[in-house]
Amino acid sequence: MTGIEIFQTWLIAFFTLALFSFLYKDNPVYKIAEHIFAGLSAGYYVGLIWDTVIIQQLWTPMTVDGRWWLIVPGVMGFLMFTRFWKKITWVSRIPLAFVMGVTAGIFLISQLHGLVLPQMRDTMLPLWNTQGYGQLFLTIIIVVGVISTLIYFYFSKEHTGALGVTAKVGIWFIMISFGAHFGYTVMGRVSLLIGRVQFLIEDWIGSFT
């Protein structure tokens, strides 16, 4: 390990332990780590956007490549800042309307074409297929699960009789789904802790030798 690597390892270890100190109680060391993280993130993000967007995609193409038409989106972007002055706040609505229009256009197609329709198509599978009884069983589970869950969220009629029974089946599907999510969430959180402990034992304590 070089000197700078050892310094980095100790710095990371300090901030890891500083954040873990919250497990005891809120304290100044935790606060310092939290504020440094927030400040560094904001500064880094501003610098990154300045370099990768303003310089690379606006300033350089305009001044070096002569693509002067980029002044239009550039000015539109800067008009967003008029929100800071009450009298001309309305000007910021022009670029905002443009952003909303473009975003809605892109999202409408991509969400419908990429998410809604393929997922619907895969829900409406033929019951009688050639993939055996196992697949048939899974298809029935999908159909029953989707219909009963949708009925659970149908509030225009009181959940009594057949509707009530179907809604109760829907609750079971929702609970099983929550259980799967909870199990995975526990695994995720434990993984993060394992990662930190691995770092402290292997890298930080390892740097002592």
């Binding site: 880094y44 990154l48 892109i106 991509s110 393929p118 999510h181 995975y184 526990v186 995720g188």
Partner: protein
């Protein structure tokens, strides 16, 4: 399924490895990215890395590729390139379908793409055979809805355990060719590729914690039923 999809790629294919995770989820996501890189380079694939995550994404891509490259004798610019980060991932993903160079005029260190040999033969998604997205957030949705749906590029995904249940639906519908869920998925992939790393090591502790939680749930339920009987007895 991720392993089989990469195995099925022709040698020397051009692939994308996307570092869409923050440093906070390194424990789950980095083993996936590392193993995928080993797998790609074992098949002599040329790798384009990029990130839609501003904080840490490009530098993690840089660290991982530069650390593993010497093992396979891979050279920057010829065998791999790091495009870095660009803001607004929806516009980035849609724009790369037209021209990657228009979105990333330079690589992460500021070298123009026109000076990078690997990018000579890459214009847009048409030249990319496979995308492996490693994510700890919803960017995976957009790789599906924009890149897979509109350009038909096969995508596999490695996600944190928290978001894994959501993405199984995309595997069932064929929109993802494979999915790695959390540290468990990463450990399985490490085993298959034969590169046992931090995920495999971490699974020992992971299993122990799960056994502890299951025991506590069982003890809690037994306690509930036992005290419930006692409560009933008292009320009589």
């Amino acid at each position: 399924m991720v392993f089989d999809s990469v195995e099925a790629l022709p040698d020397s294919s051009i692939v994308m490895l996307v570092f869409d995770y923050y440093p906070s989820t390194i424990a789950e996501c980095e083993p996936m990215a590392r193993t995928a890189l080993h797998h790609f380079w074992r098949k002599d694939c040329r790798v384009i890395t990029l990130s839609n995550i501003p904080l840490g994404g490009p530098s993690m891509a840089e660290n991982v590729t530069r650390e593993i490259a010497p093992e396979y004798d891979k050279q920057y610019g010829i065998d791999y390139v790091n495009l870095g980060y660009k803001a607004n991932y929806v516009a980035v993903l849609a724009g790369m379908g037209n021209s990657i160079e228009s979105i990333f005029p330079t690589d992460n260190s500021g070298t123009p793409l026109s000076e990078i040999p690997l990018m000579d033969s890459v214009v847009n998604y048409e030249q990319v055979s496979f995308i492996f997205e490693v994510a700890d957030n919803a960017t995976a949705d957009y790789w599906v809805s924009i890149v897979n749906a509109q350009y038909g590029v096969p995508i596999a995904c490695g996600v944190t355990a928290v978001s894994a249940p959501k993405y199984y639906a995309f595997v069932a519908s064929g929109q993802f060719v494979g999915l790695l869920g959390g540290m468990k998925g990463a450990a399985e992939y490490e085993q298959l590729v034969g590169k046992r790393g931090k995920a495999v090591v971490g699974m020992g502790a992971q299993s122990l914690v799960h056994l502890l939680i299951i025991s506590l749930v069982l003890i809690g339920n037994i306690g509930y039923f036992v005290t419930g009987k006692a409560r009933k007895g008292m009320s009589r």
